[in-house]
């Protein structure tokens, strides 16, 4: 297991490997089912969940279709409130900005609030190269970091690990980077959380610089919002002298009042709680309270490419709740690593190909990492039509491969189209299938087919064709009358 997603194989290859890990499958099944039931219960409690979802989608659409206006307004508000605003076109630019800001403080370490944007740009690795230690302070992120592992879930990045594995990681690694765990550490979640508390407290109290993301950035007031559970966010946002926040440009909300919608949608969708334990908001610099140096890095990194796709841009509504992961039958079995990105699951399957383009093997394969069952679209709190987008992106991948040698699949599809276009041809084909079906005799499913056809037969349990088709049966019955 390595700590990077670079050079990942295509989804189907990685998925096959993940499916062989039965411990991981058990961990994932337990976790996803627990959280999906919790979510369903608290969503049920609200009278008009659908109305809230619609409001969430509408606010985001309003933001996205006026993104330039709102970003300039956000910049003005932040600047007025004493923050310094930076613009970063891509990951390299963002990492360079953050690294030089940290260097300017003279610090050689930073504490970090869990942030998808900083993971997306590989900030920890960039800081490490510059000789700056980045300490993840969210418990799950800490487990991933100490385990030299990769995140596998947006909300609970260590969801693929169970308590016994976490205990082992703590015992093996914690002492190398700070306060070690107590000698008699058991695998009780309460004890593991206590070990993390003691380990990180030392780091919080001495930290000079913190790095965060933001769940929301309010254009009108210049207020940034971080939604969290453990209090590690509050520690990072409050105690250090310098705070640097990396914020995706799609995170902007027009007005403070818009929080009423998202502070109902997000906690219920992500942790399945009526409200998360802690939410912090800050508006630039508050004299005498919290960091007196506040920087905000506005990050593009492919978001404007997604915005240019009239169908695909709705993926930018995403508030990173991970409800779609928790209900996805594919994610539940395969886990997050196979998606080759910090954004796994259904949202990752549509977001990654849009943010990174469809040039790599893994990004071309992601739109196919779905059975199109539709559960993801049903739970999405901002009504992203994930199944529609998957199909849209499949079209894009296919279109990009037009011209040149046709693939076996294309030839097969062309043949099928020709056959389906005439009922006589279709009947002939069925006759052939009936004969073929008899070849399999007592088997229920077609096993491994030879040669290139194995690519098709290996990925599914296709039933053998019936000995008699419906049409043949109908004809026989009718003639018998």
């Amino acid at each position: 297991m390595s700590g990077t997603f670079i050079g990942m194989p295509k989804f189907q290859t990685a998925a096959k490997e993940a499916l062989g890990n039965s411990q991981q499958r058990r961990n994932l099944q337990h976790a996803t089912h627990t959280i999906r039931e919790k979510r369903a219960r608290v969503v049920e409690e609200l009278d008009d969940w659908e109305g809230l979802r619609q409001a969430g989608a509408d606010i985001k659409d309003n933001v996205l279709s006026h993104l330039d206006t709102y970003l300039v307004q956000l910049e003005e508000s932040l600047t007025r409130a004493g923050a310094t605003v930076h613009w970063a076109g891509d990951a390299a630019e963002a990492n360079e900005i953050v690294t030089s800001l940290v260097r300017a403080t003279g610090a050689d370490e930073v504490v970090k609030v869990k942030s998808m944007a900083t993971q997306e740009i590989g900030l920890n690795e960039a800081l490490e190269e510059a000789g700056i230690a980045a300490w993840e302070t969210d418990l799950a992120e800490l487990i991933v970091q100490l385990g030299h592992d990769r995140p596998s879930h947006i909300l609970v990045p260590a969801i693929h690990r169970n308590r016994a594995e976490i205990r082992e990681i703590f015992l093996r690694e914690m002492g190398h980077v700070g306060t070690p765990p107590p000698a008699g550490l058991t695998s009780e979640p309460r004890e593991l959380a206590e070990a993390a508390r003691v380990h990180l407290r030392e780091k919080f109290l001495r930290a000079k610089v913190a790095i965060s993301g933001a769940n929301f950035a309010i254009a009108e007031t210049g207020t940034l919002v971080v939604v969290e559970s453990e209090g590690n966010g509050r520690m990072c946002l409050t105690l250090p002298e310098t705070l640097i926040s990396v914020v995706g440009i799609e995170k902007v909300l027009p007005r403070l009042e818009d929080l009423e919608v998202f502070m109902q949608l997000l906690p219920r969708s992500s942790t399945g709680e009526r409200m998360n334990p802690y939410t912090s908001t800050w508006t630039g610099i508050t004299p005498g309270d919290g960091p007196q140096q506040v920087h905000v890095v506005l990050l593009d990194n492919g978001r404007t490419d997604a915005l240019a796709d009239t169908v695909g841009r709705q993926a930018l509504r995403c508030i990173r709740c991970s409800a779609c992961l928790n209900v996805c039958p594919v994610y539940e079995r395969v886990g997050g690593h196979a998606y080759g990105s910090v954004y796994p699951g259904p949202i990752g399957a549509i977001l990654n190909p849009q943010l990174r383009g469809t040039t790599s093997e893994v990004d071309q394969s992601l739109p196919y990492a779905s059975s199109l069952c539709g559960a993801c679209g049903d739970v999405c709190p901002v009504k992203i039509e994930i199944p529609d987008l998957l199909v849209h992106l499949r079209t894009r991948v296919v279109d990009e491969h037009r011209g040149g040698m046709p693939s076996g699949e294309e030839i097969a599809m062309k043949g099928a189209a020709w056959m389906f276009s005439d009922h006589r041809r279709w009947e002939k084909a069925q006759k052939g299938a009936e004969l073929g079906g008899r070849m399999f005799r007592k088997k229920d499913t077609i096993g491994r087919l030879p040669g290139p056809l194995s690519a098709w037969s290996d990925a599914r349990d296709a039933p053998v064709p019936p000995a008699e088709s419906f049409r043949t049966w109908w004809k026989r019955e009718k003639e018998g009358q």
Binding site: N27, H30, A31, T34, I35, A55, D58, N62, L64, S65, D68, A81, G82, W87, E93, D138, L139, A140, A158, N162, R163, R190, L192, A193, R197, R201, F204, L205, T221, T223, S229, E230, G231, M235, T238, L239, L256, E257, E260, Q264, P267, E273, R274, M275, P277, Y278, T279, S280, T281, T283, G284, I285, T286, G288, D289, G290, D300, T304, L307, A308
Partner: protein, 210 residues
């Protein structure tokens, strides 16, 4: 071309010819009708395994003293009503002067603050860090947070909570929304209370003056 100009140009290009969606027709600030706002608040705060007590206005000092029975040193924000602390016995009280370091705050047993808003349906307390609540570090570092909320500060659900917080945000103050003690579900999705924030949240809900 600066990164800023480049990004804004890319956005403008991406949106060329796009339909500009207006802000939604959403009933902001809608009131959630509840039969008994205070009872719902108590029930929902307790759901997070926080301690909640209902007290009469004249009973605040006694309840604070009782909640601090095991504390020897506490910190309070500079604007906390002094009458809340009159029943304390053998407890050293330090009013924050703004210069206590994180390490110094870590050596207090507890903090007592007021609040700005209580949200019944979600069991949430919102601090707007006015003088009776103090700067953020005060209510973060000590392990026990005693928070005095008045019934008149309660609202039904989240939509009603924004209006009373608006002034603080406009004045550049931070907000802290607190729903129970610090918690994590990062290990097998099992909820464990008490990670980095105060491990005990003790809420005193004060009835209106009769």
């Amino acid at each position: 071309m600066s990164a800023r100009d480049d990004m804004l140009a890319r956005i403008a290009a991406a949106l060329e010819g796009a339909e500009r969606t207006p802000p939604p027709d959403h009933p902001y600030g809608a009131v959630t009708p509840l039969a008994d706002v205070a009872a719902t608040f108590v029930e929902c705060v307790e759901d997070y395994r926080a301690v909640v007590e209902r007290v009469a206005p004249e009973g605040i000092a006694a309840a604070v003293a009782q909640a601090l029975s095991r504390a020897t040193r506490i910190v309070v924000p500079p604007g906390l009503p002094t009458e809340w602390l009159v029943a304390l016995d053998r407890v050293e009280v330090v009013a924050d002067d703004g210069h206590l370091s994180a390490d110094e705050l870590d050596r207090f047993d507890a903090v007592v603050t007021a609040a700005r808003v209580g949200i019944a349906v979600t069991g949430t307390i919102v601090l707007d860090h006015g003088p009776d609540q103090g700067r953020r570090a005060l209510s973060l570092v000590p392990d026990l947070h005693i928070c005095v909320v008045h019934e008149s500060q309660l609202v039904g659900d989240v939509p009603e909570s924004i209006a009373p917080l608006r002034d603080a945000v406009d004045a550049g103050r931070p907000l802290t929304w607190i729903s129970g003690p610090s918690a994590t579900s990062d290990i097998e999705l099992e909820r464990v209370e008490g990670v980095h924030g105060p491990r005990t949240l003790h809420v005193l809900l004060v009835a209106p003056t009769s």
